[in-house]
């Protein structure tokens, strides 16, 4: 009986290894998901770093870019884009301002998370400078304009004529002043 039990050990150990490996595989899906999305641009996430300026302008077509600004319940700020849509040639560099106003009597820090729709167009949306690259502190009742400088990569496939850039503003975690 004792021998028989020992003979189960190798197989049991292998099965245990599989289940432990699968537990960590569940967590490995998190960075894998990010890598996969960055490679394919599936979830509309744009690059978090500044892009190089464009080198040519494609005057043969015009792209409509829409701007959406909304905020999380956690942050009592006004947040809006100064224009709702613009049209531009691929390769042309534009600056659009977003206006924020802190409605509360507390200084706090905001963080805007961008998303581009359709997701597959995200990788052609090049930001040279963006307020979303950094955290945005604002004094009590303070307000300011936050610029995003961007262009559309002329390699954008022909089937895309409208691109939507959406920002959602969150209160920055753990960095709150006076809380």
């Amino acid at each position: 009986m004792e021998n028989q039990r020992n003979s189960h050990q190798p197989l049991l150990r292998k099965l245990l290894m599989i289940s432990i490996a699968m537990f960590f595989f569940g967590f490995a899906l998190v960075p894998l998901y990010d890598v996969f999305c960055r490679m394919t641009g599936l979830n509309g996430k744009t690059a978090n770093t500044a892009a190089a300026p464009s080198t040519r302008i494609d005057t043969s077509r015009r792209i409509k870019v829409e701007f959406i600004a909304n905020r999380d319940d956690s942050i009592p700020w006004n947040f809006a884009a100064e224009v709702s849509t613009i049209e531009l040639n691929p390769g042309a560099i534009k600056v659009v301002n977003f206006h924020v106003k802190n409605l509360s009597a507390q200084a706090m820090i905001g963080r805007a998370v961008p998303s581009v729709s359709p997701g597959a167009a995200a990788r052609y949306f090049k930001k040279i400078e963006c307020f979303c690259f950094a955290e945005q502190p604002l004094d009590a009742h303070g307000e300011k304009n936050m610029p995003v400088q961007f262009y559309i990569d002329p390699q954008l496939p022909a089937e895309y004529s409208t691109i939507t850039l959406s920002y959602r503003l969150y209160k920055s975690q753990g960095q709150t002043v006076n809380r």
Partner: protein, 539 residues
Amino acid sequence: MSQEHSQSIESANTHHADDAHDHKPQGFSRWFYTTNHKDIGTLYLLFALLMLFTGGSMAMVIRAELFQPGLQFVDPHFFNQMTTVHGLVMVFGAIMPTFVGLANWMVPMMIGAPDMALPRMNNWSFWLLPCAFTILLSTLFMEGGAPAAGWTFYAPLSTTYSNDSTAFFVFAVHLMGISSIMGAMNIIVTIFNLRAPGMTWMKLPLFVWTWIITAFLLIAVMPVLAGVVTMVLTDKYFGTSFFNAAGGGDPVMFQHIFWFFGHPEVYIMILPAFGIISSIVPAFARKPLFGYESMVIATASIAFLSFIVWAHHMFTTGMPVAAELFFMYTTMLIAVPTGVKVFNWVATMWRGAMTFETPMMFAIAFIVLFTIGGLSGLMLAITPADFQYQDTYFVVAHFHYVLVTGALFGIIAGVYFWIPKWTGVMYSERLGQCHFWCSLISVNMLFFPMHFVGLAGMPRRIPDYALQFADMNAFISIGGFLFGLSQLLFVWVVFRCIRRKGEKATAQVWEGAEGLEWQVPSPAPYHTFQTPPEIKSGH
């Protein structure tokens, strides 16, 4: 008891060395300390029956609320708790433990093993379950109530917008997961190491085959579930941002990880039922199973495909067309091995000398009604159509056809098939037939009209609905109550057998039944195959 002792004398040749073990302790300590696969199988089955009625009574609350439009009995938050806990209890408390219980009872007898390979772990994996469900169900009585985010507990419903029952839910799921993984390991080790000499792989009964594949699925995906509930826990309590966009996470990623577990999970809940049906149909058609090898290959193919179809649950989350097409075609591909199985069952019956005892009736109902569930699954797999069906009662109809008339009918068929072997007496055929017809009619009253209200646009998981759905919902609720009541007949049949009321069963029980489990006396003695049996032929 005296009957059991006389049985063990009759079958003395099968367990000569361990007669002393037959003097098992009585009462609580017998069941609490038991390492006997038959005792543990019985515990699993009785626990699952209790959970079936617990989850079923929640379904009755849901159907009572939906009997009329407007809010009558429960508030929306409690309604959400009911749908959530009903799903969790049925999936993790009723269906999965029943299959493990059936495996405990039948697998060692089918492969000629004296017991499960790891009897003490077996005891532990059972007794974790009552602990897990005590934790889960206790949240119903706490301030703020039980989890209400749906059994799929999508973030941020389960993180940002949930109450502290989340912590209880997460630990309960951890315990259920550990229990399932240990159960699965035990079954794999038993089948790999304890087969009787001559019991080669391609002689294994299909129930054993389907369980090996199910056990590997369990080992592969239950740890992923444990991982995702852990992420929910740390997102809610420890400031991580796996699913929180503000911290750089992504709520859609929750759905990917959850369904990476969730889709294999639905096959965990159906493959053992395929095994049961593959045992029953040949016995009552008095013909060997048609296409044994293709059955094994089909089961393995379904298991493999289940890992690459998960995003068909998420077509509306916004995926590129290439991904939607990939998941649509792989999903439809599952219809091929499933079709092979249905074809083989029908071909087994073809020109067989069929009789229609209760297990066979449930098996035939399984084949027909599971196919209906499979066809509505094909409809849901069509991406553009899914945008219309998503989150409607059509989906509810689909997964109840595969889980109730599929998995549950398979289980009931298996219980009727094997209960004479477990208890030594035949169930009452008259009550069994009565239970079958009541269940068949009421279950179709309950779930079939859901297809229509779903296609007409009635959303799921909402306690109220538009007036035009009123008549259909009243009809569905009546079907629901009748189906619930019909199951009381089942309990009566089972308890009559447990009380040994009925005709004494022979060892073979069914004229056409073949396999090692039918060679031991009925009821099966406490210890079987202490010396390995001789394997003659066939599967």
